[in-house]
Each structure stands twice: as structure tokens, then as C-alpha cells.
């Protein structure tokens, strides 16, 4: 909402410097987003009165003009054709900045001798001042302009661009803002004159109003003026509209817009002679009805839309836009002015359905007062009579089925201290509220007052609202800052947060960069991660912004792989990425299950290119190492089982099983998936389901005492068939109690061992809780181990 300061001054005295005023308004909830000073700063330019015009001694076309400037008089040279003694004109002193009338450039006025006569300034054209393009003559100001006054004070303006919150439609008006300023600066508001002379012709004999839908239209008022002359509006009116960002059309329409800006009540003018049957009917549209609106668009009405109709068809979409048929034109001689109140929801719905938002609908949908139409209508009628002439019909058509008494609120200052934490006396509260035009009455009790909000404050419904009114006028800066003194509630344990933090810190310490990707993606992206498999239908956004953000992710893989791809363009070293986030699994007739997952992808060299040892590329076992790090702290055995995951390489994938529960999956990315995401090199992937992991993570851990006797290390190398897995070998060795730990430190295939076999070099740590193991004991166990390995796997000790 743009508001002109000059306009505001009509209703309230501005007693604060402009910047401070803007600050006060902002603090009180009417945010001044921007202040625009129009007319330039006009420094060194004042109002002058021409007191003498004489011929120039050396030039026929030039004149010597003597200008009275309040304290002094100066004589300047001018060639303007319209110099007249007694006129008030803008006068620029030497040093003023002007726009050159011929070149359009900004120039600084220098002292000059024109044809031998000294000129100590200039009288200015509109173009020189930047007001318009007119340079034919000097600008003539109105006769009451005070000589000597800076021009900026007289002509300049400040336009406040206000951010009005949706609860304050009353402030979508100049008077509304003036009321706020008055309350903040303890001034009173001067309301415009609304009375006018009526003719003898009674309005009821000229037109009628019928409201078919009283819920949707609580009030409809109309006045009539006969014998108007439609013409362009006077300059002052046009300027005010332009300053507020509205385009002048003609004097009738301009007045309705002017009063809307002034009062906040949208009005509409009909060409009276085009209203069929002289009837105004407020009803719902009939199916199939079509109206061409003022913007020239043909709009199909649906039966839930409120229209203003005449005896035959709709002439306006109620509260949104008028129809072209009854538009004010140059032929119009009689007008019917509508000032009504409409249901906010109805206006909002229709406006949304039609995709048509207007200054009128923006105000109505915020909920205007049904008391507002009458004063606004009277004001508009008076202005039309002043500007467009004609005679007003006697009386006003006023159908008011939705009349409601304003209910007073019982208010106590205890409520202020209870909510604000600061004491405000009853008298101060009354004083503050009264400046806001609230009616306050003391009741029997000393603390309680009965408060009635002014009719335009449709946002006030309870005592908390009144507390805010008091707070914002006395200033939020008057409220102290205290710390909560109430007891701290007993916190609930949140093991899922602990688990997430744990996993995050492990991933980071394993060299992974955390990423956060969009929850919304495309079906195509979701399909890419799992070729040849049936995708459960993800949740779909009904009104997506783009096709790329249409579905809620059911996997973290897609965006993570896309992120990997993007970064492969720049990164030369290995890339390790992870995300912990929610996937959204649809559920029947309910919100989706939001399941937290960890997904990680890794690819490329194990380390940056370096002059040190080259470590090669990230492979399955690097990935497995990360998985082992992620889960080892659980203190449970981690099993890597055969997996069916379709997004992974069939020979290089594993389900992760802990205590019989599948908690995740890992492996090499399926080449098809890799291709679909245009990834270079081989990519490995890890996925964990935090929900499955949670019960394992929350198990109470038990401390095991530190071993009191040292372990004994023995290395052995065995030769075993390729078909035997390391896990089998390890399981056998670990089944013998004194074995505390088994490490594989070499795996060999080649000439030294027979075909189809491999050699495993193992380091075994033997340890007993009761004593240091002797050589004999160890040899004995080792023999048993080798026996079992031989019996079960055909493994032999490598010599």
C-alpha cells in the first residue's frame, strides 16, 4: 500500500520528522518498507512571487524579472512567454540542480550574465524541475503558495510504501494510516466532509436494491447522481492516484478509486441508464452466465459466485470487478454508486477461482467493516458532485441484513501484566486505547474497563488483541527482557536423535561430506535407482512448481547419485557423500510414514593425488570398512548376507544383518544405474535404515572387564578351496574359546598354491581370562583348529 504524506496531512498533523514517523509506524506493526521522496530534494529552490517584469535593455525576446522571495528580492533574466506580475513561480538560486530544458541533463546553476545583465537565479519550467516534460513556459503555482518557502515543502511529497498485515484492512487506506499516526503521536484525526446537497427526486423512485444472499452480502448501499459530465479528473486528483500507483481514467471512476484509497472501502460506479429494470440484485450467478469485465475479459460464472445483477444479467462480479456493459463512458449522464460489504471468504474463493485479484478483492477478502460503506459512499457522492457536477438523488439505498452490534470487551490491566510482564495503569491503558478510537468505560470494579473497538477495527475480538494495542502504542521497547522463571520440564529421552548424531559423526570421521538434498524429486529420478523393479507409487504433489519436484522421495539414492554426478565434473579426487534424511512411504488413508535413512555414495581414488604412496581406487572393501565402522559400536556381530537389491551389482552386494535384523545394504552400484546417472568410474553405496537400527542402538551396553593376562600372537597360513568363504574360516577359528581375535593379513592366489585354491594368512590372538597361556596350550588349540579347518573346509597348513 502506497500512501502519500501530503495526503495524510489532510487528516492529521505530522509532528515528527519523517524518518522518525516511519520508524514509529514500523515498530507499531505498519511496516514502512520504503520511503520515496518525489519531486527531488529541490535544494536551493523556493517559491517566488513575480513583482515586476521589464524589458531587457539588450535583447528583445528576453525580460528582466524581479521576484519577491519572502525576505528579499532578486532580478533575473528570462525568456519565458508567460511571465505575469503577481504569479507565484518556482525560483532556483545559484547552486541549485536543475534539468536542462533542451538537453535533459542535470546541471548546476551558475551565476551568469545574459546579454550584459546579471542573473542571480532562474524562474523554472516544469521540465527543469523534473515534474513533467513541459518547457514552453515557467511553472505557475497556485496563488496561495507562500513566497520564500522551499518548493519541496510546498510541492514535494514522501510516498510511504507500507506492508500492511492481513489483519489490518483498515490500514489499506489513507485515513486508516492517519488514525495510526494520530494514536502514535497523540493527535486527532480530521475526517473529510461527507455532507452534500440532495435534489428533490427520491432515490427509491429511481432504483431498487435486493439482496438474495444476505450471508454473502451483509450490506449494500447505493447513491445516485444525475446529470454528471464525464471528463478527465482535475490535476490534484490525478496526481494523488498516480502517487498511490493507480491510473486515472475519468472523474467518476477516479473518485471511486480515490475514496477507496481514502477510506479503504471499495466502491463501484454503474452507468445508471444501462442497468436493466433499474434493479440491483445481489445474487449467486446462474450456471452458464457470462460477464465481460472491465478489463475486457469474458468470464464464465459458476453458481457459487456472487454477482451484482440487474433485471436481466450480471453487471459486476461482486467485490471484484465491474462489467463492461455498465461501464462509465463519455455518454454517461447518470451514475449509481455502489458501496457494499461482502463476505470475505466468498470474495476470496471467487477471486482465486477466476485468477482475478483487484484492489477491491484484496480489501474485501481481509474482512471489512459493514459500517464502512455509508460514510465512504457519502464522501464519494460529495466529491462527484464537486468534480463532475449533477444532482444527487434524495436519500441512499441501504439494505443492511447483516447488522451486528459491536460487543464491548471486559478488559483489565491485569491481563496486560499477565501477558506482557509489565505493569500498565488503568488510566494509561484507557488513554492509549482512546487515542486509537476505542470507547472505554469504567465499570464498577476499579481494574475492569469496558472497551468497544471502533467499527473499522474488525481484527479486535478478544482481550489479547487489546493487550497488543496497548503494547504497540506504548512501544515494545518498553517491555523488559526477563528470563523464564518457570520450572524446566523433565526432558524425554530421544534415542533417535542420539543414533543420528552418532552415525553422522562416524560418517564425517570416515571422510564423508554431508549433503542435504531436496525431498521432492521426479518419478524418472526415482525409477533410475532401481532398474527393472516395480516402484511403489510415491506421494505426488498436486501443484508442483516444476516437474523435477513433483514426487516425494522414497529413497535417498536418487538425489545423492545426481549430486555425485554434478560434483564429478569438478572434483578430481575421490568423492564421499552421505545424507541422513527422511523418505516418505505412502500409507492408506493416512499421512505417509516418514522413515529416516542414511545413504552414502563413494567413488574415485581412495585419496587425493599425492607424491606419497598411491592407494588406488575406492572398492568394495573400503566401503565395507565404512559399514563396519558404522556398526561396530553396537557391540553386535555384523553379518554380510547375500542381497537381492536391484540397484546394486549382483556379484558385489550385501545385506547387512545385525542380530537377525536387516538394517541396511551395501555394494557396488549396478552398471545400469551408474549409466542412468551418467557417473564416471565405479560407485559404491551404503544404505542404513535408522528405524531398524534404533532398537539395537538403544540396548543397554554392558562393560566387559579389561583382560588381566596378555594375549599371545600366532600367525598361520592355510590353503583352502576358492569356494570356501573367509567368513567360514573365521567362524571355525573363533569357535575355539581362547581365540580372542582373528585378522586376515594376506590373501594369495597364484603359482605358489594349487589351482582353484587360495592362501589365507591369519594372525590369531589367543587369550585366557585366568592366566597367561603356555606354548603347549596354544599348540594344542591350534592343532584342533587346523583339524577342524581340514575336516570342514579341506584347508591345509601352508608349508
Amino acid at each position: 500500500m502506497k500512501v502519500s504524506l501530503r495526503w495524510l496531512r489532510d487528516y492529521v498533523d505530522i509532528t515528527l520528522p519523517i524518518k522518525e514517523l516511519a520508524e514509529r509506524l514500523t515498530m507499531a506493526g505498519i511496516e514502512v518498507k520504503e520511503m520515496q521522496i518525489t519531486g527531488g530534494t529541490w535544494e536551493n529552490i523556493v517559491i517566488g512571487e513575480i513583482v515586476a517584469v521589464e524589458a531587457h535593455p539588450n535583447a528583445d525576446r528576453l525580460k528582466l524579472v524581479t521576484v519577491h522571495l519572502g525576505q528579499k528580492q532578486l532580478t533575473v533574466v528570462s525568456g519565458a512567454p508567460n511571465l505575469r506580475t503577481g504569479d507565484k513561480v518556482p525560483f532556483a538560486y545559484v547552486g541549485a540542480q536543475l534539468i536542462d530544458g533542451h538537453t535533459g541533463e542535470i546541471i548546476q546553476l551558475k551565476p551568469a550574465k545574459i546579454r550584459g545583465a546579471l542573473s542571480e537565479g532562474v524562474v523554472c519550467s516544469e521540465k527543469e524541475l523534473g515534474i513533467s516534460d513541459s518547457h514552453e513556459g515557467i511553472m505557475v503555482l497556485s496563488p496561495e503558495a507562500p513566497a520564500g518557502t522551499p518548493l519541496a515543502d510546498y510541492l514535494g511529497d514522501v510516498i510511504f510504501n507500507l506492508d500492511v498485515t492481513p489483519n489490518r484492512p483498515d490500514c489499506l487506506s489513507v485515513i486508516g494510516v492517519a488514525r495510526e499516526i494520530a494514536a502514535l503521536t497523540e493527535q486527532t484525526v480530521r475526517l473529510p466532509q461527507v455532507s452534500y446537497e440532495e435534489s428533490t427526486e427520491v432515490i427509491d423512485s429511481l432504483a431498487s436494491v435486493k439482496i438474495v444472499e444476505p450471508v454473502l452480502c451483509p450490506r449494500y448501499c447505493a447513491s445516485m447522481i444525475i446529470g454528471v459530465s464525464v471528463a478527465p479528473s482535475p490535476r490534484w486528483l490525478q496526481q494523488r492516484l498516480l502517487a498511490c500507483g493507480m491510473r486515472p481514467i475519468n472523474n467518476i471512476v477516479d473518485v471511486t478509486n480515490y475514496v477507496m484509497l481514502e477510506y479503504g472501502q471499495p466502491l463501484h460506479a454503474f452507468d445508471y441508464h444501462r442497468i436493466a429494470g433499474r434493479q440491483i440484485i445481489v445474487r449467486l450467478a446462474k450456471g452458464g452466465e457470462v460477464i465481460t469485465t472491465l478489463d475486457g475479459m469474458e468470464r464464465a460464472m459458476t453458481s457459487d459466485m456472487l454477482v451484482i445483477a440487474d433485471a436481466e444479467h450480471p453487471v459486476a462480479i461482486a467485490g471484484i470487478m465491474g462489467g463492461l456493459d455498465t461501464e462509465i463512458s463519455e455518454e454517461t449522464t447518470a451514475v449509481l454508486i455502489e458501496s457494499a460489504n461482502f463476505n470475505r471468504s466468498a470474495i476470496r474463493q471467487t477471486s482465486a477461482n477466476l485468477g482475478l485479484r483487484t484492489e477491491a478483492s484484496l480489501r474485501f477478502e481481509k474482512g471489512l467493516s459493514s459500517e464502512l460503506p455509508l460514510p465512504a459512499l457519502k464522501r464519494a457522492t460529495r466529491l462527484i458532485l464537486e468534480i463532475a457536477g449533477g444532482k444527487a438523488a434524495k436519500g441512499i439505498l441501504d439494505v443492511y441484513p447483516g447488522r451486528q452490534e459491536r460487543q464491548p470487551l471486559l478488559f483489565s490491566t491485569v491481563q496486560i501484566s499477565r501477558l506482557l510482564g509489565v505493569e500498565v495503569g488503568t488510566d494509561e491503558a484507557i488513554r492509549t486505547l482512546t487515542f486509537l478510537s476505542f470507547e472505554c468505560q469504567k465499570t464498577g470494579s476499579s481494574e475492569q474497563i469496558s472497551v468497544t473497538a471502533p467499527y473499522w477495527r474488525t481484527d479486535i475480538s478478544n482481550c489479547a488483541d487489546l493487550v497488543e494495542e496497548v503494547a504497540r502504542i506504548i512501544g515494545y521497547d518498553k517491555i523488559p527482557a526477563t528470563m523464564l522463571s518457570t520450572p524446566i520440564p523433565v526432558p524425554e529421552l530421544k534415542p533417535e536423535f542420539t543414533l543420528r548424531e552418532k552415525l553422522r559423526s562416524i560418517m564425517v570421521s570416515c571422510g564423508f561430506q554431508e549433503v542435504l538434498t531436496y525431498s521432492l524429486t521426479s518419478l524418472d529420478m526415482l525409477r533410475r535407482v532401481s532398474p527393472d523393479s516395480q516402484l511403489t507409487t510415491p506421494l505426488k504433489v498436486a501443484n508442483p512448481i516444476t516437474k523435477e519436484q513433483e514426487y516425494l522421495r522414497t529413497t535417498l539414492r536418487a538425489k545423492l547419485l545426481a549430486t555425485l554426478n554434478q560434483n564429478q565434473r569438478y572434483e578430481t579426487g575421490g568423492i564421499r557423500l552421505f545424507e541422513i534424511g527422511k523418505v516418505f512411504l505412502p500409507q492408506e488413508k493416512d499421512l505417509p510414514e516418514e522413515r529416516e535413512k542414511l545413504c552414502a555414495v563413494l567413488s574415485g581414488p581412495r585419496s587425493e593425488l599425492s607424491w606419497r604412496d598411491q592407494e588406488g581406487l575406492i572398492d568394495f572393501f573400503n566401503t565395507k570398512g565404512v559399514m563396519e565402522n558404522l556398526l561396530s559400536w553396537l557391540g553386535e556381530e555384523i553379518k554380510f548376507d547375500v542381497s537381492e537389491d536391484r540397484g546394486l551389482h549382483p556379484g558385489k552386494r550385501a545385506d547387512i544383518i545385525v542380530d537377525g535384523i536387516k538394517v541396511g545394504v551395501m555394494g557396488e552400484l549396478h552398471p545400469k544405474v551408474s549409466e542412468a546417472f551418467e557417473l564416471s568410474g565405479t560407485t559404491y553405496l551404503i544404505e542404513l535404515d535408522l528405524k531398524e537400527l534404533l532398537p539395537l542402538a538403544t540396548r543397554l551396553k554392558k562393560y566387559s572387564p579389561l583382560p588381566r593376562f596378555p594375549g599371545v600372537i600366532r600367525d598361520i597360513a592355510i590353503v583352502v578351496a576358492e569356494s570356501a568363504s573367509y567368513q567360514q574360516v573365521k567362524n571355525i577359528i573363533q569357535s575355539f574359546p581362547p581365540v580372542a581375535k582373528v585378522n586376515l593379513f594376506d590373501l594369495y592366489r597364484g603359482e605358489q598354491v594349487p589351482r582353484g585354491k587360495k592362501s589365507l594368512a591369519l594372525r590369531i590372538v589367543y587369550q585366557a581370562p585366568t592366566h597367561t597361556l603356555t606354548d603347549e596350550e596354544i599348540i594344542k588349540v591350534q592343532e584342533q583348529i587346523l583339524d577342524t579347518l581340514y575336516r570342514e573346509l579341506g584347508a591345509t597348513l601352508r608349508s
Binding site: 514500523t26 515498530m27 507499531a28 506493526g29 511496516e31 518498507k33 471468504s345 476470496r348 474463493q349 477478502e365 481481509k366 499477565r418 501477558l419 510482564g421 509489565v422 478478544n462 489479547a464 493487550v467 497488543e468 503494547a471 504497540r472 515494545y476 527482557a481 523464564l484 518457570t486 520450572p487 530421544k494 553422522r504 564425517v508 570416515c510 571422510g511 564423508f512 561430506q513 554431508e514 542435504l516 531436496y518 525431498s519 521432492l520 506421494l539 505426488k540 504433489v541 498436486a542 501443484n543 508442483p544 512448481i545 516425494l552 549430486t563 554434478q566 560434483n567 568423492i575 564421499r576 557423500l577 527422511k582 499421512l591 516418514e594 585419496s607 587425493e608 599425492s610 607424491w611 606419497r612
Partner: protein, 346 residues
Amino acid sequence: MPRELEELASQAFEELDKISDPKELETWQIRYLGKKSPLMQLLHSLATLPLEERRITGGRANEIKKALETGLGKRREALKEAQIAVSLQRESLDISLPGQPIPLGRLHPITQILKEICDIFVGMGFQVVEGPEVEWDYYNFEALNIPKDHPARDMMATLWIDFELETGDREMLLRTHTSPMQIRVMEKLRPPIRVIVPGRVYRHEATDATHESMFHQVEGLAVDRNITLADLKGTLFEFARCLFGSERQARFRCDYFPFVEPGVEMAIDCIVCKGAGCRLCGGSGWIEILGAGMVHPDVLRRVNIDPEVYTGFAFGMGVERIPMLRYGIDDIRLFYSNDLRFLKQF
């Protein structure tokens, strides 16, 4: 005898001074202090000497032995020092060679800032809770005094889920703010309540340098007897000081959110211009940080908390803005495009 002894001693000291190799030191030790050395043999043979001579010669011999031993010790120490010095000199590196690269992981800047924010409030007795990102209209709007057709819905353009109830109403949406958790928390807990809710929120908004369709918020809620706007101010000013530094000024101004009354917007003085007015703050000298207020009595009634007995405050802040201000990031889209060249800076 004593003369020979003295000569032996001076000869030994002379040689000792010249030794520069630890191995020679061993030889010297054997020669002069070994079992077969003249000095040791003399000491062994003392018993055969007459008493007086034994006393004189023996005393002197022992003195010399001690002196030689001390000399040896010192020499050994000196040689060791010299050797270390030499090897230190020889072993120096080109320390400008690059270090062994060890992959370094980092948390996303938003994760980092969320932790920072949560830690501050946890320190003030708030508990962290989380809620669903896909919500019902009821929690996101209706229960927060934003019924259908309320103009406040314009402030939060909504992404609706393609899901229809039997009535044909579309009620499922991506939450536009973390405020629905105010309702969910109050439905579940009774006062005293003190929670904060971090999480993702979504808007139907075309993205540009300052707008994202997905971003994070942190919601706060405290409900108990005697909670006031002054407590809200104290809590949030303290938070601003913890997050932005003790020299930052904070201010409250009146603002409107349908689910609080009175409503508040908190701003801090501009980090760049310190309040003088610049491009970052749009000339106002202040930067909006969050919206807040006293929980609306109708909201409390809706969850069966008596507003005559209890009061509460609530606040909600956008998270991305904070690292943007702190690090001078000028494009919000950088957070979720996940370019490592960006992420590695934090």
C-alpha cells in the same frame, strides 16, 4: 710409582679429549679403566704394599679412577650431544612438501547451524522434538487460526499432496512452517512445556537468490503459568547474543501471525552497517530474524489448555538466513545444490 701414576693419568686425559667416536671411547675405557688396565691392577695390588704407601698410593689411585670415570661420563655425554646435533642437521625435511592427504568429512552448514541453535535453547531448558513434514491442513493451518480462505494463507503458498478425503477435500500438504508442531506438542504434553522443533518446511515458491521451495525452520514453544512477553524477549535476546555475539542489538516490533497475540518480529542490528543502513538491510539498519508472540488464547483452547490459567510464547525462525548473514552467502540455492566447492568452505 706415584709418578708413573700421574703420567698415566695425564696421558689418559689427553687421549680422552681427542676422542670423537663413541667406539674409541669403549677402547679407551678398557685401556684405562678395564680390569687389565694398569690403574685397576695397581688398585688390586694395593694389599701387597706397606701400610703407609698403601694409604698414599691407594688414595691417589682412587682419586684418579674417579676423575677418569667422571671424565669418561662427560665425554660420553658430549659425544652423544654432538651426534644428535649432527643427525638433526642431516635429517631436516622440505617441510613445504604437501601432507599425506586424509579424506576429511564435514557436516552440511545447515546441520551445523541447527546444532548451534538447538544447543543454545537446550541450555535454556528447551527440549528438541521433531514432527512430520507431510501434514494435515488442520495442524498446518486450521488449528493455528488460519481457516480456509484466510488471507494469511497467502503468506505461505502451499504445496498440496495429491490425496483426497472421502469428502473430496484436499487436506494433505507439505508443511509450510514448523508451527503445526505447536499443536502436536500441546495435544500430547501438558504444561510446563518448553520445546524447540527444527525441521524442513516447503513453499510453493519460484526459487531465486533469496527464495527456496525447501528450507529449514526452528520453532519454539513455552507454555506454563506466568509466562510473559518479557520472558519471550529475554529468551530471544539471549539467543541472539549467543548466536550473533554480545555486541549485537536486538529489537522487538509489532507484527502479525494469526496464531499469536500479541505478535512480534525480532530483528538484530545490521551486521554490515551496524544500524546505519545499507543494501543488506534495505537501508533500515535492522535485519529480521524471526517471528514470535504469545500463544493465541483460541489456540490454547483448541488443545484444551485453559488460557485463563496458562500463557505461553512461540517463535519461529528461518535457518538458512543465519549462515547467509554470517558468511555473506548471497544465494540461498547454494545450500541444496550441494556443490562440494561450496560445502567444503564450512
